[in-house]
């Protein structure tokens, strides 16, 4: 089997250049894994860069609640270059909102609904933001995957 081989350096440099001052932190964990931090308000631009200009495939997005805020990670695969690029934006507990990328990339529609109901992240301009996995009667403001509830009732 001829593998396509990892020669992602050029693409990664192009992504870094295009993100410019939006790029807050860059970590190359290995030749096959890259983690990039960006400001939350630039998520839509960064996703457009990855999906439309770079031709990356959205594997999935993930959220993690941390004391510093909720980290939202978009995992993009560069299939022809054997590299996974994770773009990460941290939103504050006080205003957990992000631009939806579902209109740009329909693959994100379900996962944004999931992150909305489980982590309480508001996705602006999502075409159909409603419960995906939980029941429609799930109490408002109760987010199962939150670990550091802020502004919501702390149950002893």
């Amino acid at each position: 089997m001829k593998t396509r081989g990892s020669n992602s350096a050029d693409t990664i440099n192009r992504i870094r250049g295009a993100l410019g001052e939006h790029l807050l932190n860059f970590e190359k964990k290995s030749g096959r894994r890259v983690y990039i931090d960006i400001a939350p308000e630039t998520v839509l631009e960064a996703s457009s860069l990855m999906f439309e200009e770079t031709g990356a495939r959205l594997q999935i997005a993930t959220g993690i609640d941390t004391p510093a805020g909720i980290e939202v990670m978009y995992h993009w695969a560069l299939d022809s270059e054997d590299c996974l690029v994770t773009i990460r934006a941290t939103v504050a507990h006080e205003d957990p909102s992000l631009d939806s990328i579902a209109t740009l990339c329909p693959a994100a529609e379900w996962i944004e609904r999931e992150m909305w109901e489980l982590l309480g992240i508001e996705f602006r301009d999502h075409p159909d933001l409603r419960h995906l996995l939980l029941d429609d009667n799930w109490p408002q403001g109760n987010y199962p995957l939150r670990k550091f509830p802020s502004g919501q009732e702390v149950i002893p």
Partner: protein
């Protein structure tokens, strides 16, 4: 304009074993819109994983799905290995690919049988499942189990393949080649299968890319992705095989891709087993701890790429464990493929992505952290279910006499615990 009606398929699916709710909006016989409702199979596995150590997590994700019961563990251990920079012995890599490909054969045969059943081609169903039994026998020989093999662990595999078993496995695989060739001919040459599947439920390449479709669903639409080749892992970079693609994206091509992949899987297993004769050594690097860090593992399951993300804080448990199964990306493509088709074709179209609902839904918790207090006990769930039933009865004006006494109906939230 004709009247629009909703035809519900589910939540208890008329044909498949798992619950999922498809609302087909139809005008006459034609489907004009599809609404998919999830959540009937929801077990809280991602949250549960945070309470397990890294070795237990592998057993947990093995139970996400009975069919992909080695794909999730392979992706999971690769994520842990990526997070903690753990090495895997070469012999273990060949064993991982062997078990993974055996699973692909039995999964594809299972789907082929079901597809035949949905089309009314029950002979295909019975033959496919009869030969799937032979694959399960091989899996039992290799792993000790027909399903849920318990083979993977961070740093290697739990069980070696005995040298004396290798000729037996090769002989059993040899016996599968003719039946698979028969299935290929039965599907490709059968006029009935053509009539029911050709040009039906077409997913274009553009839509496949937009929806992030995976596995045979993507490859049937000419979207040439396969994690085994594109991001080599296990032994896939060390053996010779081909990625199967088709171009039409209809149900027929999805079937053809899966059937032809069976031959590739046998090729891969044969090469892995031959390598095992010469590649000796341990099958487990026995890592003692997982360093702080984050890792991504992915594996090409029978239905497409399985994705696991693990973050470790240096303790023996993951801080976060994200699982994304292929059906999560493939099922939404139904919204495109079923449009404009008839109700009669909808069943096979919805089944053509080889959906796996228990994979798609893994999360739910009735526990609120950090206090760990249970939000709802079983009694509360019964009470809520009763309430909802009466709510719906009220809405539809069907409410008759007062409800029969419901065990938990009068209880408060706290007393139910």
């Amino acid at each position: 304009m004709s009247k629009r009606t909703i035809v519900p398929i589910g939540p208890y699916h008329a044909l498949q074993e798992e619950p999922e709710f498809f609302k087909l909006h139809v005008e006459g016989e034609t489907v004009v819109h599809l609404d998919i409702e999830l959540g009937y199979n929801h077990r809280g596995i991602e949250k549960l994983s945070e309470s397990k150590d890294f070795e237990e997590t592998v057993f947990l994700v093995e139970r996400i799905c009975g069919i992909c019961s080695t794909s999730h563990p392979i992706a999971c251990v690769q994520a842990v290995e990526d997070a903690g920079d753990i090495c895997v012995p070469e012999r273990a890599l060949f064993i991982r690919s062997t078990v993974g490909e055996l699973e692909r054969i039995h999964s594809h045969l299972l789907w082929l049988g079901l597809a035949g059943h949905f089309l009314g081609f029950n002979t295909l169903w019975m033959w496919a499942w009869r030969f799937r039994e032979d694959v399960l026998n091989i899996l039992e020989l290799v792993t000790g189990n027909r399903n849920h093999y318990g083979m993977m662990k961070p740093g290697g595999v739990r069980r070696d393949i005995n040298d004396t078993d290798i000729p037996v496995i090769i002989k059993l695989l040899e016996g599968l080649k003719d039946p698979i060739a028969m299935f290929r001919d039965a599907v490709i040459e059968d006029p009935l299968v053509h009539a029911r599947t050709r040009g039906i439920g077409v997913l274009t390449r553009e839509k496949a890319i937009a929806y992030g479709a995976l596995g045979p669903t993507a490859r049937a639409s000419g979207y040439d992705i396969d994690v085994r080749r594109d991001h080599p892992h296990a032994a896939y970079g060390m053996v010779d095989w081909d990625v199967i693609t088709c171009g039409n994206g209809d149900v027929f091509d999805k079937a053809v891709v899966r059937i032809l992949e069976l031959f590739e899987s046998i090729r891969i297993i044969e090469q892995c087993l031959n390598q095992l004769k010469t590649v000796t050594g341990p099958v487990d690097s026995d890592p003692r701890f997982v360093a702080t860090g984050e890792g991504i593992g992915h594996y090409e399951a029978p239905r497409g790429e399985v994705f696991h993300y693990v973050r470790s804080d240096g303790s023996n448990r993951p801080v976060r464990h994200k699982v994304r199964a292929p059906s999560y990306m493939n099922v939404p493509t139904n919204r495109e493929t079923v449009l404009g088709e008839t109700i009669a074709d909808a069943t096979i179209i919805l089944a053509a992505v080889d959906p796996c609902y228990c994979c798609t839904e893994r999360m739910a918790v009735a526990v609120d952290s950090p206090g760990g207090r249970r939000l709802w006990g079983a009694q509360d769930l019964i009470r809520m279910s009763c309430e909802k039933t009466y709510e719906l009865m009220d809405e539809s004006g069907l409410r008759g006499p007062e409800p029969p006494p419901c065990a938990a109906a009068g209880q408060t939230r706290d007393s139910g615990r």
